[in-house]
Every structure is written in structure tokens, then in C-alpha cells.
């Protein structure tokens, strides 16, 4: 009896263990690629990755698997510094990739020149999501500083999304008044005073605006604004893209230290280069990201209103300076919010 029960126990334990181990390696691809990405890109890469796997199989006759991890891109950058072995990063903040070069020496400083368009296979800009028929008549960044306009966007201190909103407002104002900093500060003060809720992240701001019904304008990436509109009711909201706006790059790069260790350098490069291919660009455009491929841009032209896009580096200086002057403690943002 005693013998039988221990035997039984052993069998059960072995079976359970092998099941647990086995299922974590359910399908066996020849090689694996780990893509560390930002939070709201899950659906996008869930669609892009199988396309790439098929493409790689056709081109190289090798079966590969692309795994995903999603979190805020600053969180991801920190995780990679602390040892997350991501082969490629697809972020929504240039500064978060810079961190990998400066703090971790995981990639070279000139990573932005390794792939076309400053290593940004797609881009977006900031858009205004307004309620049906645009009751407050919002069309430009200047309109946001008007009386009786309630704004919702995430806190620029904690969210890349909010940072772009702040910088877009600043750059557009400078563009309109010919770099009159005093006038821009005055505008920014009024605009920031109109903020109803400063959520910590993009998803939180969305919930505040769409589910709790707070505010007249939600400011977020054009891609997000369109997806939110589709999600929460195309008839209840409108997306407005102002005539002058900021260029929001979505930087990608391979993490040299990790690809060298994992033996995936060619695969990682191939993956990122694939994002520039017409096939991937079409998928990206379907998710309301702007792309550089001429054919695809034409095909989706009616989705993307014409606007003058300013690059942060051209309009406001290097990201390092921008972070220091505007977002550091006691910087422009803090001073503007002091009432």
C-alpha cells in the first residue's frame, strides 16, 4: 500500500512537471525573437508578427517565432537595462531608446542612423478627439486655450503621450507667433489651466474622457484617437488634426548586446527592415499610423489629413535639452503650472 501510493505520487508529480515544462515550449521554432514594445501596440504586433514569420519562412526557409512584451516604453527600457533580453525594441519615445545607449551601452549612440527615417518606420502626430459635431469648435492648438474648454491628456511628467501634447502645443504656438517665447508661455499657461484631469497614462486619459464623460477634448496620438473613436462609437466622436502639429516618431532598433548573445542579429535586422516593406506599411496604415511608403500613403490618403509636421529636434532642440528645460523639476512645465 505504502509503496503503491508513493509510486502513484511520483507518477503524478512527474506528469505534472513535464506538462508544466512542456507547455512552456509548446511549439518549437528554429529561432526566437523577442520584441519589447509600448503598451498600446498589442493588437498591431499581433497582426504584424505572423506576416513577418511567413515572410521569413519564404525568404530564408527558416521557421521563427516572434514573442512580444508590452509595457510603457520607459518601463521597458529600464527592464532591458536590468537584463530583459529583448532582441529588438519598438518604442514610442526616442528618449527611451537613447537610454539604452547612454546608460547601458547596449546599442551604439548613432542608432538612429542605422535604419531609414531616423529609425522610425512609421510615425504619427497628435490629434484632438472631440464630441459629436465639435460643439466647442476646436480646430487648432490655439483653440485649446479658449475660455470654457476642458482638456484631458495624460501628465507630461509621466507619459510620453502627454509630453508630445505639451511639445506640440509649444511648437505650434512658436510656429504661429514667430518664436515669441513670452507669447508662447502666456498661451501655454492658459492652455494648461484648461486641463480638467491629468491622468498618469494614455489609457487612463481615454477612460476619463470616453467612459466617465469628462472634458471637451482628449488629446492623444492620431492613431489612438481613431482607434478610440472606432471603439467607443464612430458617431459619438470626431477626430480633428490641427494644421500645424508635431511629428511623433516611433523609433525601432535592435539591441546589439542581446542579439549578439542570442545569435539573432540577422533576424532582428530582417524583422525591423520588414516593418518598412509595403506589406507591413499597409498593416500599419490600417491601424492609423502614418507611413513613408508613397504607394501606401496614397492608398490611405483620406485617412490622414494634410498637416505641417514639426520635428522636436528641429523646433525645440535635442531631446536631452528638451527634457532638461521643460520636464525636469523646476523646469518650464513646473513654472507654467504655478498659478
Amino acid at each position: 500500500m505504502f509503496l503503491r501510493t508513493t509510486l502513484l505520487r511520483r507518477v503524478v508529480a512527474t506528469a505534472a512537471l513535464s506538462m508544466a515544462l512542456g507547455s512552456t515550449q509548446a511549439f518549437s521554432a528554429d529561432r526566437e525573437l523577442l520584441n519589447a514594445s509600448y503598451d498600446i501596440a498589442r493588437e498591431l504586433f499581433a497582426e504584424l508578427n505572423p506576416q513577418f514569420v511567413e515572410h521569413w519562412q519564404e525568404e530564408h526557409g527558416e521557421s521563427v517565432e516572434v514573442k512580444q512584451t508590452h509595457a510603457g516604453s520607459s518601463t521597458q527600457a529600464r527592464a532591458i537595462l536590468q537584463g530583459l533580453r529583448a532582441d529588438v525594441v519598438t518604442f514610442n519615445q526616442v528618449t527611451d531608446v537613447d537610454v539604452l545607449a547612454q546608460k547601458g551601452q547596449l546599442i551604439p549612440d548613432d542608432w538612429q542612423s542605422r535604419l531609414p527615417n531616423y529609425s522610425s518606420p512609421y510615425y504619427s502626430t497628435m490629434a484632438f478627439l472631440v464630441r459629436k459635431d465639435n460643439p466647442k469648435d476646436i480646430h487648432t492648438w490655439a483653440d485649446l486655450a479658449g475660455d470654457d474648454v476642458a482638456l484631458v491628456f495624460p501628465n507630461p511628467k509621466t507619459s510620453g503621450n502627454g509630453r508630445y501634447t505639451y511639445l506640440a502645443a509649444w511648437a505650434a504656438s512658436n510656429h504661429d507667433n514667430g518664436n515669441d517665447d513670452a507669447a508662447t508661455r502666456d498661451y501655454m499657461k492658459r492652455m494648461l489651466a484648461n486641463v480638467e484631469v491629468f491622468d498618469t497614462g494614455g489609457r487612463g486619459a481615454t477612460t476619463t474622457f470616453a467612459e466617465r464623460g469628462i472634458g471637451d477634448v482628449l488629446i492623444t496620438f492620431e492613431s489612438e484617437a481613431n482607434n478610440i473613436r472606432n471603439q467607443y462609437g464612430p458617431d459619438d466622436y470626431e477626430v480633428v488634426v490641427p494644421p500645424v502639429d508635431i511629428m511623433a516618431e516611433f523609433p525601432v532598433t535592435w539591441v546589439d548586446k542581446n542579439t549578439a548573445r542570442n545569435g539573432t542579429e540577422d533576424l532582428a535586422k530582417g524583422y525591423l527592415e520588414y516593418l518598412y516593406s509595403p506589406e507591413a506599411q499597409r498593416t500599419l496604415a490600417q491601424y492609423y499610423y502614418r507611413v513613408n511608403d508613397d504607394e501606401i500613403s496614397k492608398e490611405f490618403a483620406e485617412r490622414f489629413p494634410q498637416t505641417t509636421l514639426l520635428r522636436v529636434e528641429d523646433a525645440l532642440g535635442s531631446w536631452e535639452d528638451v527634457m532638461q528645460t521643460h520636464f525636469a523639476n523646476g523646469g518650464e512645465l513646473d513654472q507654467l503650472q504655478r498659478r
Partner: protein, 275 residues
């Protein structure tokens, strides 16, 4: 003499209140989990349950529990034995130290491990030179779960072993029993049920642990996502049915665990009566 609460009205009122509160705080939320999981019918539930990602989340959850429980079982026995059978300087401090994982927030525990064993951490930098990765992989998740659940077994054993005293063991020693024999023939039978109870609690917590695990997981889909993480991930993805399918699975595991616990309690109770 009439005591407060003896009236039929008071008694009925209290019972009603207890029933209402239990329903509001326990029964309805629990039923809600299963309701949400099946909200769109059986097919979406089944589809979510059998998806690759869910299967791997289940696998990882089981793996973590299977590795955590034996480690903490041995560690717990060892610790309880040490604390209750020997006197040495620092014994009281040790007894307090056991409770630290309970006192510390799991997120803090996760961060501590990350700082220690991450690539730039004190121990992590040495390990990464040897190409050993603990954080952002399943070993790290096992490690923090072991930390978070390590007091359960010891906490169950210590009061019991203190109450039982060492008289039986001392008798064994005088009769010439070896250490191992002493443990197998005297200590183990005495603490058997407390041990099982500790294991059940350890197992339940290992399966359900979220905070510490989420810090060190790196949330790689299909690799370092266990069931609790999967619930949060799917919920943020607006996949409510998927999130609650995983939640229902966790709830079911918890219910089974509690049933085993109840069964054991009933069993011990009966044994004590007959004994």
C-alpha cells in the same frame, strides 16, 4: 438573566445582516467572475481557455507552484524545528524574521530581487557574466514566489510544535533513536496535518501571486505570463471574456484548494474525537 442580543428580533436582525454582507462581499463577486466568463456563451469561453497563451500561462503557474511548494516545505520544517527544538542566541530575532515576507508588500519584494539579481544588481552582474539570467524569466518568478510564500509552512508548524513540546522526542533519544528516525517516527506524524495545511496555503498563494511576480516577469507573452498576470493583460486588452476566463480558472483552483482544506479539517476533527 437576559443578555443583550437574546431577543428574537436582534438575533434575526444579526443573522440577516451577516447573510446580506456575505452575499454582497463574497458570493456575488465570486458568481460574477463566472458570469463574466460565460457572458458571451460557451464558445468564447472555450476558445479563450484553450488558446495557446492561456495554456502556457497555466503551465507556468503550475511550474511555479510545483517548484515553490517543495522548497518551502523543507525550508519551513527546518526553520520550525530549529526555532522550537533548540535554544540559541538570536532565536527570537529569527522568529520575527520569518514574518518579513508577510510584512513587506510583494511589489517591494519584487523590486528588491530585481535590484539584487538584475543585470546591474550586486549578484546579478556576477551571474550575467556567467550568462545566467534569473530576472525576466521563469526562475526569477519562482524565486520571488518562494520568498513571498516562505512563512506559511513555518507559521503553521511553530505554534503546534511549541504546544507539543519535545517530551516525545526526548524519550526517543533516550531509547537510542537516530536523528532521522526521530523525525520520521515521532515529529513528522505529530505535525502531519499542520504540514498539509501549510502546503495548501503555500500552494494557493503561489498560484495566485501577482505583485512580486509582475515586477520580475518582463511580461513576455507565452513565456513569463502566469495566470494572474494573464488576467490583467487580457483585461487591459479589452478582452473581458478572456480575462474572466482566466480569473474563473484561478477561482476554481482556489475553491478546490479550500475544499481540500475543509475536508482535511473535517478529517482531523473526526480523528481527534475518536482518539
Amino acid at each position: 438573566m437576559k443578555r443583550i442580543g437574546d431577543g428574537t428580533g436582534t438575533r434575526l436582525g444579526l443573522i440577516t445582516l451577516a447573510v446580506i454582507l456575505t452575499t454582497l462581499f463574497l458570493v456575488i463577486p465570486l458568481a460574477g467572475i463566472f458570469y463574466q466568463a460565460f457572458a458571451e456563451g460557451l464558445a468564447p469561453f472555450w476558445q479563450n481557455l484553450t488558446s495557446n497563451f492561456t495554456r502556457e500561462a497555466i503551465g507556468l503557474t503550475l511550474l511555479i507552484a510545483l517548484m515553490t511548494v517543495p522548497v518551502n516545505l523543507i525550508f519551513g520544517i527546518f526553520l520550525a524545528w530549529l526555532v522550537t527544538r533548540f535554544t540559541f542566541p538570536g532565536r527570537r530575532i529569527l522568529q520575527t524574521l520569518i514574518d518579513i515576507p508577510f510584512a513587506v508588500s510583494p511589489v517591494v519584494a519584487g523590486l528588491l530581487y530585481l535590484l539584487l539579481y538584475g543585470r546591474t544588481g550586486w549578484l546579478g552582474s556576477i551571474l550575467s557574466e556567467q550568462d545566467v539570467q534569473l530576472m525576466f524569466a521563469w526562475p526569477g518568478m519562482v524565486l520571488v514566489t518562494i520568498f513571498v510564500t516562505c512563512p506559511f509552512v513555518a507559521r503553521e508548524l511553530i505554534p503546534l510544535m511549541q504546544a507539543q513540546g519535545s517530551a516525545e522526542e526526548e524519550a526517543g533519544v533516550t531509547l537510542g533513536a537516530s536523528g532521522w528516525m526521530l523525525f520520521r517516527r515521532i515529529t513528522l506524524p505529530n505535525i502531519r496535518w499542520a504540514l498539509v495545511y501549510g502546503v495548501i496555503l503555500t500552494n494557493a498563494r503561489a498560484i495566485g501571486e501577482f505583485g512580486a511576480v509582475s515586477v520580475v516577469s518582463g511580461s513576455i507573452r507565452g513565456e513569463t505570463i502566469n495566470l494572474p498576470l494573464q488576467v490583467e493583460l487580457l483585461y487591459q486588452d479589452y478582452n473581458t471574456v478572456g480575462a474572466f476566463t482566466s480569473a474563473a480558472l484561478l477561482a476554481a483552483l482556489a475553491i478546490v484548494t479550500l475544499m481540500i482544506k475543509a475536508l482535511l479539517e473535517w478529517h482531523t476533527h473526526r480523528r481527534e474525537k475518536t482518539a
